[in-house]
């Protein structure tokens, strides 16, 4: 039987009160994943300090409740982590921290970690350009 959308309390909390929604003007790194045509799109913004630590993170998300909750959770998990630590955050970790996601939402809406990683890559490539 297909599992139907039933959200854990943690998911609902992050959906109703998402942490770190917003945009960072001239952020150190920006990552965008997904596609509105498919129903989910996320943009992550990070600012990084000298120790390669994420000192600020913000996101904007178009998508279902799970997508928003995932983004919020990822932003919370990433905050204060070093880039290497942040790159360790996996989709599975996020789902686990959220107390599970409905099976049919695991793939399409669980893009938060990808967006974060993309923002980190963006930061790194910008830095490489600057330094190079």
């Amino acid at each position: 039987m297909v599992e139907i959308a039933q959200y854990s309390d943690t998911v609902m909390d992050h959906f109703m009160n998402p942490r770190n929604v917003g945009e960072i003007e001239s952020a150190d790194g920006v990552g965008e994943v997904g596609n509105p045509v498919c129903g989910d799109m996320m943009t992550f913004y990070i600012d990084v300090d000298e120790d390669e630590r994420i000192k600020d993170v913000k996101f904007k998300t178009f998508g279902c409740g799970a997508a928003i909750a995932v983004s919020s959770m990822v932003s919370e998990m990433a905050m204060g982590k070093t880039l290497d630590e942040a790159l360790q955050i996996s989709r599975g970790d996020v789902a686990e921290q959220l107390g599970g996601l409905p099976e049919n939402k695991m793939h399409c809406s669980n893009l938060g970690a990808d967006a974060l990683h993309k923002a980190i890559e963006d930061y790194k490539s910008k830095k490489a350009v600057k330094e190079g």
Partner: protein, 393 residues
């Protein structure tokens, strides 16, 4: 908190009179209509009375009504049953692009068995052009199936003209009236169809019952083989309480059709008028005039339906959406796609379906509650960001 249920298209509460009428058939008059004794007699009479009541709703002969387990079974029986019974005459079926999945997927199954299916497109209001039906019909066509009205967008189809187009070419015509029956007058004697599907739930009857009307003499292959119940066209012990409930619901729907339609139209047209005024970049879907009285459907740009549903639920408002995320199959509404609505806009679909239990105040509550929700979700949306940056707003 108010409780405002605006999802009657998904499910209605059975009316008290309906439940009352069903009650004795669970444990007292519990017989099998096929049985040759008093218990059987009671059940048989109840089923035949219900059949007459359902027939009356569409001005049909009781003997032409087949009870099914719902709209889906009625549609499957019509599409597969008529096409298969005629498969020696031809192997082509015509449907519209906005049919319910129980018609569209039934047609797809016919394809798996070697039949050909033409999906006729619709205009941006979801309307089928009878001319395009005429053009789609070939010498191999055995069935045209176009719904009486679409529940998702409310659009009422020109069935009489489509029926005439099919009749002109000697092709059978089925219409899925699940969303329409009880809300617009239907008369099988004048509409020209050969088969009409209806369901109990939208009539404030119980779930799990429906009916297919099939014109006498029209050949039909059974879908549920078994005993000779329903004239051999639908096997299985009859769902007596369910059928009795549908009968009562049909009787009330026929009696109150006009007052119900007027009452529902009053509320839905308010919402159709005011919601676009309260929320920018929100548009009505479906046809503005040729529209089911209970339907008020919209698309809201830059955000996705599920989020709106969840926030509305928190405020006690129950609605549905045709967005991909809200469908269990995770596919966006094929109906909105057929109306040429871009996929990302269709994600913001919202369907308000009014019912007898709604009050005019419910419209006010929605108009007051929805805008801040939309605003909140838009504030989170990267699409809205882009739109604003591009100078929109």
């Amino acid at each position: 908190m108010p409780e405002v249920y605006l999802d009657h298209y998904a499910a209605t509460a059975a009316l008290p009179e309906v439940v009352e009428e069903m009650k004795p058939y669970f444990s007292e008059k519990f017989g099998n209509p096929s049985s040759l004794h008093g218990w059987g007699d009671d059940a048989r009479k109840a089923v035949e009375e219900a059949r007459a009541r359902v027939a009356a709703l569409i001005n049909a002969e009781p003997g032409e009504v087949i009870f099914t387990s719902g709209g889906t079974e009625a549609n499957n029986l019509a599409v597969k049953g008529i096409a298969w019974a005629a498969r020696k005459k031809g192997n082509h079926v015509v449907v519209s692009a906005v049919e319910h999945f129980s018609v569209l997927h039934a047609a797809r199954t016919l394809e798996k068995f070697g039949m050909e299916v033409t999906e006729v497109p619709v205009d941006s209001y979801g309307m089928v052009d009878p001319e395009s039906i005429k053009e789609a019909i070939t010498s191999d066509t055995v069935l045209v199936s176009v719904m009486t009205a679409n529940g998702e967008i409310g659009t009422i189809q020109p069935v009489q003209e489509i029926a005439a187009a099919a009749a002109e070419k000697g092709v059978g015509f089925h219409t899925d009236a699940v969303a329409a029956a009880g809300y617009i007058p239907l008369d099988v004697k004048t509409m020209g169809a050969d088969a009409v599907s209806i369901a109990s739930d939208l009539l404030y009857g119980p779930k799990g019952v429906g009916a297919l009307w099939v014109r006498k003499g029209r050949r039909l292959m059974a879908l549920l083989d078994g005993g000779v119940q329903e004239g051999g066209r639908r096997g299985g012990t009859e769902n007596v309480p369910g059928i009795v409930g549908m009968g009562k619901a049909a009787e009330l729907a026929a009696r109150d059709l006009e007052t119900r339609a007027e009452y529902l139209r009053g509320m839905s047209s308010e919402l159709l008028k005011w919601l676009p005024e309260s929320i920018p970049r929100l548009s009505v879907t479906g046809h503005m005039e040729k529209r089911l009285p209970w339907n008020a459907s919209f698309v809201v740009e830059f955000i996705e339906g599920e989020g709106m549903l969840l926030f509305l639920d928190q405020k006690g408002i129950a609605v549905s959406s045709g967005s991909a995320c809200t469908s269990r199959a995770l596919k966006g509404s094929h109906v909105l796609t057929a109306c040429s609505i871009p996929a990302e806009i269709a994600q913001g679909s919202l369907l308000f379906s009014f019912g007898l239990d709604n009050k005019p105040e419910d419209v006010d509550y929605v108009i007051e509650t929805l805008p801040p929700i939309v605003e909140r979700l838009r504030q989170m949306s990267p699409l809205y960001d882009k739109f604003l940056k591009q100078g929109g707003g």
